[in-house]
């Protein structure tokens, strides 16, 4: 064995950058400590929304960033998660912690049902088909009496804070920690996925499906796997959101805006990179929340105009997203020349 090969084999599998490890550890400690500094309700809400949207965007990142399929109907899985927990809590008193996995499974099941025919389509056709699927969920739930039709579901409020009912009325701190844990866990799941055999194969499918086929990769199956994983990451966010606001309706949890915003967040931060959704959510969500404060109600849609503007600038000057500002040698997939 020659020297160069021995050296190459002795390299660590991942270029664990100490600075990045330190940064992540510090960030996690800081995020856990933050409520101790007496964050007011608005800032707690802001962080909760950032965590939630980062997870939702991470979900979209799996199907679009890793396997290259642009889904415009991902809000459907958010809605399924929301309705699963609320419905079973209202009808049978089942704790959201129990019904949440059910919502995840139902989302996964629908992803298989939708994915098998839809993922045979490619490019724009898949995007358009998922857009219509997303809208059709909204239309069906608007007319489905069992789940409250257009008026939706009102989750009965517990008299006091309850971990089993996932309801906290006195403070948002508990919600903050729950969303934070989901945020961190999802980040590590997707990080592990990106470094697994599955992650490699999904990127192969994204980059060149024809070449992937020549490497024994069943392209259709892998697209479906990515779609299912993506849906199963999205669903618990719907469940948690439902328990956070305690009132859900089709316009709120199946809204097309959900599907669009996860796309915007991911593209802004950096598609196909585990950091992208976090960066994107940390920028877009504060813009959205502040514009709602200063411009009232829905933010006068100024947030959407700002999103569009930012997205145009990013697409023109930084097509790889804001993550591309980070020097390559800091990222794990660095080049060792």
């Amino acid at each position: 064995m020659d020297n160069k090969l021995i050296i190459a084999k002795s390299e660590p599998l991942w270029n664990t950058n100490n600075r990045v490890v330190f940064l992540i550890s510090t960030l996690i400690i800081l995020l856990f400590a933050l409520p101790l500094f007496g964050l007011n309700s608005f800032y707690l809400h802001l962080f909760i929304m950032i965590f939630m949207h980062a997870v939702m965007a991470q979900s979209w990142n799996v199907i679009a960033g890793f396997s290259g399929q642009i889904s415009l109907g991902h809000g459907a899985f958010f809605g399924i998660g929301a309705y699963a927990t609320s419905f079973f809590y209202i009808e049978y008193g089942i704790s959201p912690w129990v019904s949440m996995p059910f919502g995840i499974l139902v989302s996964g099941f629908f992803a298989v049902l939708i994915g098998i025919p839809m993922l045979r389509l490619s490019g724009h056709y898949f995007a358009i088909a998922t857009l219509l699927i997303g809208i059709s969920f909204q239309v069906v739930f608007q007319r489905w009496d069992l789940v409250g039709a257009a008026s939706g579901l009102w989750v009965p409020m517990t008299p006091e804070d309850s971990w089993s009912a996932l309801q906290f009325h006195s403070s948002k701190v508990s919600y903050y920690y729950i969303f934070l844990v989901f945020f961190i866990v999802t980040f590590f799941i997707v990080w592990l996925l990106s470094r697994s055999k599955l992650g490699y194969r999904l990127r192969a499918v994204r980059d060149d499906p024809q070449a992937a086929l020549s490497l024994c990769i069943n392209v259709s199956n892998y697209k479906i796997i990515a779609y299912v994983i993506s849906a199963m990451i999205m669903a618990p966010m719907g469940s948690l959101f439902a328990q956070y606001i305690l009132i859900i309706d089709p316009d709120r949890v199946f809204n097309i805006e959900i599907s669009i915003i996860v796309l915007l967040i991911t593209v802004l931060g950096g598609i196909g990179n585990v950091w992208g959704p976090i960066i994107g959510a940390s920028i877009l969500i504060p813009i959205s929340e502040y514009s709602r404060i200063y411009l009232g109600g829905t933010g006068g849609a100024v947030d959407l105009i700002l999103y569009g503007l930012i997205l145009m600038i990013i697409c023109i000057f930084r097509p790889d997203g804001l993550i591309s500002f980070v020097p390559k040698d800091i990222l794990n997939r660095k080049k060792q020349r």
Binding site: Y200, D207, A211, L215
Partner: protein, 240 residues
């Protein structure tokens, strides 16, 4: 022992017969060179064998197993690797990642898959470029990448589409040596090649196509002397 047996393989696109009743066999451990002018149906033949294009008629046997009609991933899983005329590297991934995607077929453990990929990259003399993104490599290096990636699935049969096409003259000897090295390692090769000198140097047998038809099949010497091949492809200068 016959590793590949193609019988009466045909495929038409509209009124054009891209492959018309083509038959040939490949012995294990040999190199079959496929020659023919542009549009002769060489790449179509590869697409038909590997399942990328469905044949209208015929039979393809790999070690006596009928692989006609199987999907490309199933065929590659049986041990048929291939490279492409129009290169298809995973551009946004490093050379090592490209080859690891192939080595994952046989190695489930990520460290073992990485080490195996490194050995193959070393075999194709690109070890120093292992962390370079595929899009940063030269055409010759990308050809090696594709060979390495195909080798990573441990194919018994490797179909290579114009390995020396589109590269500068300095790069060709290295690629030819690599094909010989591959053969020595025990892989059976079917290669499409435009450069007749290379075909004559490396092939055990040659299949000549013209306008979708097989016009000759035999040893390089026989092919060089075949009148039909001379008329349609080699020309009188080479035959003299």
């Amino acid at each position: 022992m016959k590793i590949l047996s193609v019988k009466n393989l045909s495929r038409s696109f509209g009124g054009i017969k891209a492959n018309d009743n083509i038959s040939f066999e490949v012995d294990e451990g040999t190199i079959l060179g496929v020659i023919g002018p542009n549009g002769a149906g060489k790449s179509t033949l590869f697409d038909l064998i590997t399942g990328y294009t469905k044949a209208d008629d015929g039979k393809v046997e790999f070690f006596d197993k009928n692989i006609f009609g199987l999907s490309p991933d199933k065929i590659s899983n049986l041990g048929v690797g291939r490279t492409f005329q129009k290169l298809k590297p995973f551009a946004d991934q490093t050379l090592l990642e490209n080859v690891m995607i192939g080595s994952f077929v046989k190695e489930k453990n990520i460290k073992k898959a990485r080490d195996k990929a490194l050995e193959i990259i070393d075999f194709v003399d690109l070890i120093e470029k292992r962390h370079h993104f595929a899009k940063e490599l030269s055409t010759g290096q990308r050809k090696r990448l594709e060979m390495a990636r195909a080798m990573a699935i441990e194919p018994k049969l490797l179909l290579m589409d114009e390995v020396t096409g589109g590269v500068d003259q300095r790069t060709i000897p290295g690629l030819v040596e690599l094909i010989k090295k591959l053969k020595k390692s025990g892989v059976t090769i079917v290669t499409i090649e435009h450069n007749i000198n290379i075909i004559m140097e490396i092939s055990d047998n040659v299949l000549a196509l013209d306008q979708g038809k097989s016009i000759a099949y035999g040893s390089p010497k026989e092919i060089q002397q075949n009148k039909q091949v001379i008329d349609s492809y080699l020309g009188t200068f080479d035959a003299a």
